[in-house]
Symmetry: C2
Subunit: 644 residues, 2 copies
C-alpha cells in the first residue's frame, strides 16, 4: 500500500481559499512559532523548547522547563516547515530547520533516545510512566516530522535519526521476553511508526505499531503494572478509569468512542492505517464501528468532537451541548487524519464528507484569519458574559488567544493547513480517487504512466469543478470523483459531454474508467443549496433548531451582524435564504441573509415569567461561515438557530 502514502506528495495547491491560509501559515504562524520556541515573544510565558534541547545536548546549563511534552512543539513546527517547503521552497527556512535537526542530533543519546524532559530532569526514570509522561508521544511527533522533512527535502538525516530512535524503542517495547509490554498513555507513535514504515519500507516499524495497538487494554492493565512499580497509590484522575486513554478494553472490543478525544482519534487513525497495511479484518471492523459511533452519535455539525471539558473527552451518545462543548481544534484535526486512513481502507464518501466538514469548519475555526490567534476550544454557542462568570464555562473563550501554556493546537493547525494537499487524493494501482475539491496540480503514476492532474474551482463558495487529466501518453485507468454528501444533485461531463453518472456511482464516487489522453477534462457541478440542517432528534441540545449549511460550510450568527441575545431569533421554515459572495468581508466569504422573527424583549417588560405572550418582530439576519467567527468585534455567536 505504499503507493497511497506517496500520493499527495508534490501536490501544489493553487486554491484561492487554501492558498491564503497556507500563506498565513508560512508568513505568520511558522515565524511566530519559531519566536515562541526560542522564547523571544514578549508578554508570553517562555516555551523553552529549543533551550531544553540545548541543555540536553550539553551546550547550555539549566533546568528543563515546560510541559512534559514540550519536545513535541519542536516536532510539530518542523513538520509544518516541511509541508510548507514542499509547496513553497524557502532556503532560509530550510537552513533553520536543518540547524534544528542538527541540534536534535546532538541532543540524542548514543542509544537513539531523545527526550529532553527525561534526559535533563530524570534520566534514570525513562519509561517508568508511559501513561502520563508523553515519552512515546513526543517520539511519534518527531518521527512524523522526520518523514515529512524527508519527503519535502529529500534529506535523509532527520529520518535516520528518528529511525535510530524507533530502533531503540523497538528494543524496549514488544512482545518478546524482557521487553516492556506497555503502550503510550497518549497515542501518536502508532500512526507515526506507520509513516516511518511507509517511507522506509522497514517492517519492524509496522510490527511495533501493531504491538502497541494490540497490547492496549489487555488485562492486567499495563498502566496498573507500571503504577505499582512506581509505588503510585493515587487513583487515576479520570474517575479512576483508563477509558481516558482508551486502554479500558482491547481496541477491537471498543464500540464507543470514550475518553480524551485527541488520544482517541490518533489511535483510530493508526488502527485504520494498520488494518489497510496488514489486511486485518477485525481491526477494520473495529475502525468502522468506532467511526459510526463518532460520526453518527458524538460529532458536532462543525465536525468538532469531544463534548466535555473534563478529560477533554467524549461524553456519551447524542450528548452535544453547544455552549460548554470542548471540541478541541486538535481533535477535529485528528478526525481529518482518521478520515483519510478510512478512505484508504474503503473509498466511501461518508469518510470524505466528514473530512471536508472538519476541514471547512471545526479545524480552521481554531485560527483567526491573520494566523495570530487561536482557539483551543471551538464552541457552537458563545455568550461572553457566561464564559466570564459561569465557572463551568471557563474553558470556553469568547476570543482567540495568542498562545497557550499547552500549545498543542496552533502547531497542529499549522501542519494540517500546510499539508492540505495530502488530503485531496488517494490511489490504488489503477484508481485515482478525488476526495476533495480545491485548486491544485499534481503528478501521479497510473499504470506506469505519469499523469498530470489539475483542478480549478471556486470551492467552497461554488460547486463547479474542472478537473484536467493529462497523461504523458494515453493511459487507461479509473478516475473516481466524489459526489459530496451535501449535493442535492450533480452533473458530470467528460470532455464536455454529459455522463449518466448514477450508473457509475459506488459509495458516493463516480468511477470514470476510460483511456485518458492529454488535456481530457472532467467537469463537475454540484448543486450548492442553502440547507437548514437538523440534528437527530436524540440530540437534546438541537431540538427545534436548524444549522445553516451551504456546500461543506456551516454558518453561524454573530452579534456584530445580528445584535445580542441570538437565541431569541427564530428562522421561519418558509423564509427565503440568499447567498451572496462578499469579497471584502473576512477575506472573501459567501454570506447568507434572510428574514427571521425575533422575540421582542422590549415589548415584554420587566416580568420574568407570565402566561404565553411573547411577541416577535421581523428582522434580517446575516450568517457568516462558522470558521470565520470572531474575526471582527467579539461577542455572542450561535450555530444552531431556533426554527419556527
Amino acid at each position: 500500500m505504499k503507493s497511497q502514502e506517496k500520493t499527495g506528495r508534490n501536490v501544489t495547491v493553487t486554491d484561492a481559499f487554501w492558498k491564503g491560509k497556507m500563506e498565513v501559515i508560512r508568513e505568520h504562524v511558522i515565524p511566530y512559532q519559531w519566536e515562541a520556541l526560542n522564547d523571544r515573544l514578549p508578554d508570553t510565558e517562555p516555551s523553552h523548547a529549543i533551550e531544553n534541547f540545548k541543555i540536553a545536548a550539553g551546550e547550555k546549563t539549566g533546568e528543563f522547563y515546560g510541559m512534559v511534552f514540550q519536545d513535541s512543539d519542536i516536532a510539530k513546527w518542523l513538520e509544518a516547515v516541511a509541508f510548507s517547503l514542499e509547496n513553497t521552497p524557502d532556503e532560509r527556512l530550510e537552513n533553520t530547520a536543518d540547524e534544528v535537526v542538527d541540534l536534535l542530533e546532538r541532543a540524542q543519546g548514543e542509544d537513539g533516545y531523545l527526550n529532553t524532559y527525561y534526559t535533563v530532569k530524570e534520566p534514570e526514570k525513562r519509561w517508568t510512566n508511559v501513561r502520563d509522561n508523553h515519552e512515546l508521544y513526543c517520539a511519534g511527533h518527531l518521527m512524523e516530522a522526520a518523514v515529512a522533512y524527508y519527503n519535502a527535502t529529500g534529506k535523509r538525516k532527520f529520518l535516520t535519526l528518528m529511525s535510530n530512535y524507533a530502533d531503540y524503542i523497538d528494543t524496549v517495547f514488544g512482545e518478546e521476553e524482557g521487553k516492556i509490554k506497555g503502550y503510550p498513555g497518549h497515542q501518536e507513535i502508532e500512526l507515526a511508526l506507520i509513516k516511518l514504515y511507509d517511507v522506509t519500507g522497514n517492517e519492524k516499524y509496522l510490527k511495533l505499531s501493531k504491538f502497541f495497538i494490540d497490547e492496549r487494554g489487555k488485562q492486567p492493565n499495563y498502566f496498573d503494572i507500571e503504577k505499582e512499580k512506581r509505588n503510585d497509590k493515587n487513583p487515576f484522575f479520570f474517575n479512576d478509569s483508563y477509558a481516558y486513554n482508551q486502554a479500558h478494553l482491547p481496541v477491537r472490543e471498543q464500540k464507543e468512542a470514550v475518553g480524551h478525544a485527541v488520544r482517541a482519534v490518533y489511535m483510530y487513525t493508526a488502527m485504520a492505517a494498520l488494518a489497510t497495511r496488514t489486511n486485518d479484518e477485525s481491526l477494520k471492523r473495529a475502525s468502522e464501528t468506532l467511526w459510526e459511533n463518532v460520526t453518527q452519535k458524538q460529532m458536532y455539525v462543525t465536525a468538532g468532537i469531544g463534548s466535555m471539558e473534563f478529560g477533554e473527552a467524549f461524553s456519551f451518545d447524542y450528548d452535544l451541548p453547544n455552549d460548554i462543548s470542548y471540541t478541541e481544534t486538535c481533535a477535529s484535526i485528528g478526525l481529518v487524519f482518521w478520515a483519510k486512513r478510512m478512505l484508504e481502507l474503503h473509498a466511501h464518501h461518508k469518510y470524505a464528507d466528514v473530512m471536508e466538514r472538519a476541514l471547512y469548519n471545526g479545524t480552521i475555526s481554531g485560527m483567526d484569519l491573520s494566523g495570530k490567534k487561536f482557539f483551543y476550544v471551538n464552541p457552537l454557542e458563545v455568550q461572553p458574559e457566561a464564559c466570564e462568570k459561569r465557572h463551568e464555562k471557563k474553558h470556553v473563550k469568547p476570543v482567540r488567544q495568542e498562545w497557550f501554556g499547552c500549545a498543542c493546537c496552533p502547531p497542529n493547525i499549522a501542519r494540517l493547513i500546510a499539508s492540505i494537499g495530502q488530503y485531496i487524493y488517494t490511489q490504488t494501482e489503477n484508481e485515482l480517487f478525488v476526495h476533495l475539491y480545491m485548486g491544485n496540480q499534481t503528478n501521479v503514476t497510473m499504470g506506469g504512466h505519469q499523469v498530470e492532474i489539475s483542478q480549478q474551482t471556486n470551492y467552497p463558495w461554488d460547486g463547479s469543478v474542472l478537473v484536467t487529466v493529462s497523461p504523458e501518453a494515453e493511459a487507461t485507468f479509473t478516475l473516481a470523483v466524489r459526489i459530496p454528501g451535501w449535493a442535492r444533485s450533480a452533473r458530470v461531463k467528460v470532455n464536455g459531454e454529459a455522463v449518466d453518472y448514477l450508473s457509475l456511482l459506488k459509495d458516493g464516487y463516480v468511477y470514470l474508467n476510460r483511456t485518458w489522453k492529454k488535456d481530457d477534462t472532467v467537469e463537475l457541478d454540484f448543486e450548492m443549496t442553502i440547507e437548514r440542517m437538523q440534528a437527530n432528534p436524540l440530540v437534546r441540545a438541537n431540538v427545534g433548531k436548524v444549522a445553516i449549511q451551504r456546500g461543506p460550510v456551516v454558518y453561524c450568527l454573530e452579534a456584530v451582524d445580528n445584535g445580542i441575545n441570538l437565541p431569541a431569533i427564530f428562522l421561519p421554515r418558509g423564509s427565503e435564504l440568499r447567498a451572496e459572495y462578499k469579497e471584502n468581508l473576512l477575506n472573501g466569504v459567501v454570506v447568507i441573509t434572510g428574514e427571521a422573527e425575533r422575540l421582542n424583549a422590549n415589548a415584554w417588560g420587566s416580568e420574568l415569567y407570565r402566561p404565553a405572550s411573547q411577541t416577535t418582530e421581523t428582522v434580517t439576519i446575516q450568517a457568516i461561515p462558522y470558521y470565520a467567527w470572531c474575526n471582527r468585534k467579539p461577542g455572542e455567536m450561535i450555530v444552531w438557530v431556533n426554527e419556527r
Copy 2:
C-alpha cells in the same frame, strides 16, 4: 412592630395539602434526624452533633467531628421540633428537646459562648475567622431555635441561654472601641437577632443586628483585616471576591444579587426586617432593589435561585440554565423568609406570589413524599446519564439522597414545613393580611378584640377559599385578602354577597373594611387556568419553551409518564390541556394531560445531521406537579417544554 411577629403563632394548620407534609416531618423527618444527630443511622457518615456538645460539656472525651457548622444541625432540629410541638403537642418529643436544651446549657461557657468546634478544637481561636468558620451562623440558628421553642412551649430556659450568648456576642462585636468591627461570613445571626428582639423587646439585639448589616462591605474589608491577622496569604476561593459573602459593597449599594445564594437571601431577610423595625428608608430601598433583581432576573419559575454550582451562587441576570442549575433547597427556603419580611414592609401581592411559588415548588421539591430522601439541588431538567457522565453536572443528582455530609437542607425544609402556618398572615394595628390560602384556624387580636379566623379550601388544586371571621364581639377592622398574581379573574363574596372587589384592590389585596361579626364569611374564587408560562425573551435557556402552571403549582414531565428524550416533545399552542385530580397518584395531585407532537427518532434513522426532515408523531402527555417529581421510577424530567 412586635405584633406582626406574634401573628402566625398558634395557627393550627388543618390543610389537606400541608397537614400531610407536616405529619411526615413529625413522624419521619424529626425522628430520623434525631437518629442522625445521635449517630444511630446505619450506612451513614456519623453526624457527631450531639456528641460534640457532650464533649464540649466535658461529659465525654473525644475530638470534635463534622462540619465547622455542625452545631447548626442541632439548632435547626430544635427549631423544627418547636414548630411541630406548636401544631401537635407531643410530651415525649418535648422532653427530648428539653434534654437537648439542658445539654446546651452544660456545654455553654460561663461567658455565654457556645460553639462546640471552637470549645473542643481551637478554644484560643474564637472569632479569628468569622469569614469561613460559621461561629456567628451557628449562634444565629441557636437563637432562632430558642425563640421558636419559647413561642411553642412558653419555656424560657433556652431563650435565656441564647440571650446570654447574644449578650456576650454584643460585648465582642460592635462599633464601640475595642470591639471587633466584623460580621459573619455566612449571614444568619442578623435575622435571628431580630427574632430575639421581637420576643424579648431588648433593643440591644436589634442594634447588634443593625451593626452587622451596616458594617458589612465597608472598606477596608474586615475579612482582609482578620485574614492578615491570621497571616493567611491564600486568595479567597471565589475569584478572590467577597461578592461570595455579599461583602463586596456596603449593603445599601448592592443592586444585584451575587454570591452564595443562601447567604444572600438570609441577609436580605434581615435587611427587610430591620427596615421595618427601624423605619430605615435606605435599607427599604436596597431591599426592594435586590428583590426586583432576584425575582425579575435571577429566579427560576420554580422559585429556585442560585443558578451556579461554583459557590452555590447567583451568576448573572437572565442566566438560568435548566440542566446545571444549583437552585439549592435552602436558597428557596430563604426566599420564603425574605418574602415574608417584604410583606411586613409592604403588603404587595408580588411578594406573596413569589413566596407561594417557592412554597409549592422549589422548596418542597427538596423532600420526597415520605420525608426520607432529599434534594440539595433542584434542577429543572434532568437527564440521568448526563448527571453521571458529564463532570459539570455531577452536582445534579437524578434521585434524592438519604442524607448529606453537609446536611443543611433536610432540617431546613423540616423547619419550614413545620412552621408553614407562620406565613399565612401578617397584621398591623387594624389590618389583617391574608397572604396564603390553606386550611387553618387561628386567633388574632384586632383593635383589642379576639378574632377567630379560619380557612377552608382545596388549595392548591382548587381556587375556592372560604374564610370565616368570628370576632368575640363585633369589631371593625380590615381583612385584606390577596388576589394571587396567577388568577386571571376572581370573585369575592362577603356573607354570600358579591363584592366589587376591584374598587377595593390595592397592590393585589382586597381591603375589606367593615364591622365584622361572628361567623361572617368571605368566599374567594380564583380562576385556576392551566397556563403556558413563558420566560422573558432574555432568558436564553427558555426561548421557544413553555412551562405549564396551574394556580401556584408548576408542572413537569417525567419519563415514567412520557418516555425518554423529553426535549423532543413539542406542545402545540392550540392543544387543549386538561386538569384532573388523581387521588391515588403521588398522595393526590392534579395532573395535566393533553396532546403533543413528538419528534420521531425512529423515523429519522442513523444519521446525525441532514437537511430539515424531522417528522413528528402525536402523543398524549401527562404533566405532574414539579415538587412531586422523582417519587416513582427515577428518570428524565423537564419543566420547560418546547412549544410549536
